[in-house]
């Protein structure tokens, strides 16, 4: 009985074992040993390829890179949107950033958001996914995955509004619930005071994003060969050790990716803060994106807003680079 050969990664690179890709040019379809078209190795394929990707490049340049460069330009200017007049101020807007206490509050809130998101949306979600995937009943596994995923299907704006009313001090569900279970002394104006407002927003955000992370981890866990768990079980290894010695190492690629995506997302938070507090009270829930918005659209300081945008860009760029580096370096293969 002949064994069917499966293509390997190196085969994929050479093309062996795979269908030949569609022919792009006449030159590329020349049979081996036939007359060699010099254009096949020269400028023609390069130009043809460039023509194919040119529309995408133009769109990318106009809608992504040009605004980025323009933003950098705006951040060095004072811009009066009414008269259209601009004045070059060099790095003044960046100096102003350093001395602006609200900027540091906003940055601190983004960091807090990132840290708590990693705790809940990465580590807690991984534990939950492992628990769900360890269930014997397929029906329960499917049901729980769906239940946890539902909040992720709700838009952030809607979820923000929903939680705004849950947190409402007089009519809100949360305070009523606390009173109903005898914990009325813990009732708070959750979004109305500096000490609890940011945490209340982050809590909503975790509720909304937790199920999505759990689902991604569940998919990663499903890829782990079941033989590994079976062998460990035969050796008498318990659930906790199996989690730490099999699950955790073999989903490290997804874990790394999730950490990076979560941090990156934490620095782009906007909707939930705008809906729930607009950055208040007393700027205590400002994050970089809402402070950018407020600086530009409320305070008319568009140059300063552009400087904040540059900071967000730099932070997210560094995170994106880290993501690229990490995903290339730490491949898990079974």
């Amino acid at each position: 009985m002949s064994r069917q050969q499966t293509p390997t990664r190196s085969d994929a690179r050479s093309g062996a074992g795979f269908d030949r890709p569609p022919t792009l040019t006449k030159a590329m379809s020349n049979a081996p040993g036939g007359p060699v078209d010099r254009n096949a190795r020269g400028w023609y394929p390069k130009v043809a390829g460039l023509v194919w990707v040119l529309p995408a490049l133009v769109v990318l340049a106009v809608f992504v890179y040009l605004p980025l460069v323009q933003n950098l330009g705006f951040s060095t200017q004072e811009w009066d949107i009414y008269s259209g007049a601009t004045e070059f101020v060099g790095l003044e807007n960046y100096e102003k950033l350093v001395g602006d206490p609200v900027f540091w509050t906003a940055l601190g809130n983004n960091v807090l958001y990132a840290v708590l998101s990693i705790v809940f949306q990465v580590f807690a979600a991984l534990v939950l996914a492992a628990l769900i995937e360890s269930l014997r009943s397929l029906r329960w596994r499917k049901a729980l995955r769906a239940i946890y995923f539902v909040p992720a299907a709700i838009s952030l704006t809607v979820a923000g509004l929903l939680f705004y009313f849950i947190y409402e001090p007089n009519l809100g569900l949360l305070n009523h619930l606390l009173e109903a279970i005898g914990l009325g002394q813990l009732a708070q104006p959750w979004l109305g005071q500096e000490s609890t407002a940011m945490l209340a927003i982050i809590a909503m955000s975790q509720w909304q994003g937790f199920g999505y992370s759990t689902l991604l981890f569940a998919v990663a866990i499903q890829r782990i060969p079941s033989e590994l768990y079976e062998a460990a079980a035969l050796d008498g290894i318990g659930h906790v050790r199996r989690f730490f010695h099999i699950t955790l190492p073999l989903v490290r690629e997804m874990t790394g990716l999730m950490i990076i995506v979560t941090i990156s997302g934490a620095f782009q938070v906007f909707n939930e803060v705008m809906v729930m507090t607009s950055g208040g009270p007393n700027n205590s829930t400002q994050v970089l994106a809402t402070w950018l918005y407020r600086s530009g659209f409320v305070r008319n300081d568009f140059g300063y807003a552009a400087a904040i945008a540059t900071v967000i860009f730099v932070v997210t760029l560094l995170i994106a680079l880290a993501q690229l580096w990490y995903t290339r370096r730490r491949r898990v293969e079974f």
Partner: protein
Amino acid sequence: MRRTRTLTLAAAAAGALVLSGCAGGAPAGPAADVTAEPAYEGTLSILTKFAGEPLEPYFEDLAAAYEAEHPDVDVELIQETDQSIKDKTKTLTASQALPDIYFTWTGDWAENFVTGGLAADLSEVIAPGTEWGDTFGEASLSAFQYDGKYYGIPLYNNGKFMGYNTQAFAEAGVDVPQTFEELVDACGPLRDAGYEPIAFGNKDGWPALHYLQQLFAYNVPSDVLHADFDPETAKWDDPGYVSSLEQFKTLVDECTDTGSGTNGVLYTTAQEALAGGNAAMYYQEVLEFDSITAEGSSLSPDDFGIFQLPAPDGAAGDPAAIEGAPEGYLINAKSAQAPLAVDFMKFVTELENAKTLSAPPYGQPSAVVGAVTEETSSRAVYEGITKVNEASQLVGWLDTVTVPEVADAWLAGGEAIISGSATPKEVLESVQAANADAQ
């Protein structure tokens, strides 16, 4: 290394200069000739603040009527809410896409468009003494006057009053308070009668500014207050500001059920509390009166009364001043349809249309003389506008009479006072710092 860094910075700076050359530039000279005969053709765009019920149909009906009268004219309406119009206007301004006619507040808000060359000088058609100008109250026109020129078309007047449930007052056995101290004293009996004395929601920050500005008018001498609105002359150090902040804190703590958590309550929730019969008072604009007592509310027009926020005993400012200002429209100075825009706004402010605007369900007291009468408007709107007309002066909204940086500092300060995270002195220091930045 240092050389490389310097070169990089120099390159960045050069790039920025090139970009600034592309993006900047002085505005083109005003193109609008507002006195020309309109050509009744083409599209006329207008940005209003009347999105949502019950106001939305007002401009829709007017646009349809105007189009019926002039079949070759297409009126394009962009209707926004009180909250969203701020962003919409600034986005359109920044992208040089302002419509032919656009909504404006008075004060610093309108002045930005005037100094930026974006508002047409309407003096020749609307100044007092002109045919159209004489149809408006002079004070309403003056609210949009800058450097002796008239730029705005006032649509309606507005002022801030304490609206109250007369039944609740009767049940609690309290009379309309004559002083700020009496107002605070009335809160106990009203709470005992089962009502939240004053419903207040400050999630958006500006409702606190409305209290503060009225208290400033009472506690700060008028000349000092008006000097403080301009960053160049402002000091923001009058003791009246500290008194006002202290009075405001007392009112929040003593008279609202939400107290230091008021920043977590929407102003519409507070509005509902009065309309639903749960609260005894709610501080509101004349524009809101007819909504509070609209069909479906527990509060009937007969049970709804208003009074001016009472002044504190012995306050150093003007106890007869009322916070408020007209709101209106500007015509884009660069609009090719400026004569048509003027014609459309003349149509909007015809007496019959002005009466419709002043009557329920709209309840927006028109700035046109003779539009707000006991017959056309609700009792509360008529009473409110009468008080506005009798006021010694109208003091504009704090967030539109000051520059944005200062207004924003007051907004954060108001929130901090409510939550108790800053003292009046600390708030004043942050305002002074914002003013220094704005200079």
